[in-house]
Symmetry: C2
Subunit: 144 residues, 2 copies
């Protein structure tokens, strides 16, 4: 994954590409996403960071990242909202979120299965599909 220094550089690059100021909070939140290798929900940021972020700042930062296509949301059946890093093909104007999500019932982690494409769905006549979200739940590799 590279040295601390390299990661910080990479993060600064991502932010500049999206025309965002490189701030401490944004850098730390992106770091958490890179380290976590899974989806994070709002409450994770205040815990994981060790230090405490301001709640409002986290909300605003996540919204900004969403707007710029740096992260995407993952559907859940509860009230939590989960976010994950987008791959490089995503941009502010075009989201290629063509992978499925896997939620492990053991460890609770949600991860993006980037190699697994979402299937074609044959809808009834009269329906037009713009986006397909797939969330599989079960037991993940590590918990098996």
């Amino acid at each position: 994954m590279g040295t601390k220094q390299q990661i910080t550089e990479r993060i600064a690059g991502i932010l500049r590409e999206s025309k965002l100021s490189v701030t401490e909070t944004r850098t730390k939140i992106l770091e958490l996403f890179m380290k976590s290798n899974g989806a994070l929900e709002h409450s994770d940021f205040e815990k994981l960071a060790g230090q405490s972020f301001d709640r409002v700042t986290v909300y605003r930062t996540l919204q900004t990242f969403l707007d710029k296509g740096i992260i995407h949301k993952i559907p859940t059946t509860d009230t939590s909202v989960r976010y994950a890093l987008c791959k490089s093909e995503c941009s502010e104007h075009h989201h290629h979120d063509h992978h499925i999500h896997f939620k492990c019932e053991e460890c609770g982690n949600t991860i993006c299965l980037d190699e697994t494409d979402v299937p074609q769905i044959q809808l009834p006549k009269g329906y037009a599909a713009h986006n397909v979200e797939v969330v599989v739940s079960g037991v993940c590799k590590s918990c098996k």
Copy 2:
């Protein structure tokens, strides 16, 4: 769909099958589900009913219906939780939620496409799938 009388009878039947007391609130909430032909979220109940339910009662009623397999949740990317009626094959111990959900971007409605099966997903090695949720968003029949 039958007369008001018939519907009330059918609802009472559903409740008794699940060993639940037949109460006014439960009956009205099930009526709303049957009328709506789509998914409902919590705030809908207080609005749709004309009268106002107690918030706590609605929460508890929905939780009870979930436990008994009368309704199921639908994943969303926001903090709202959406519920829809289960078909007859569902029970307290076994959920056959093998249909996909469609969310219309025009009217905002979410409906169950009961005829459309959930596709088989080929997961990477080491992952075991227990449940697959599919939510398609786009434009529905009525809004086209």
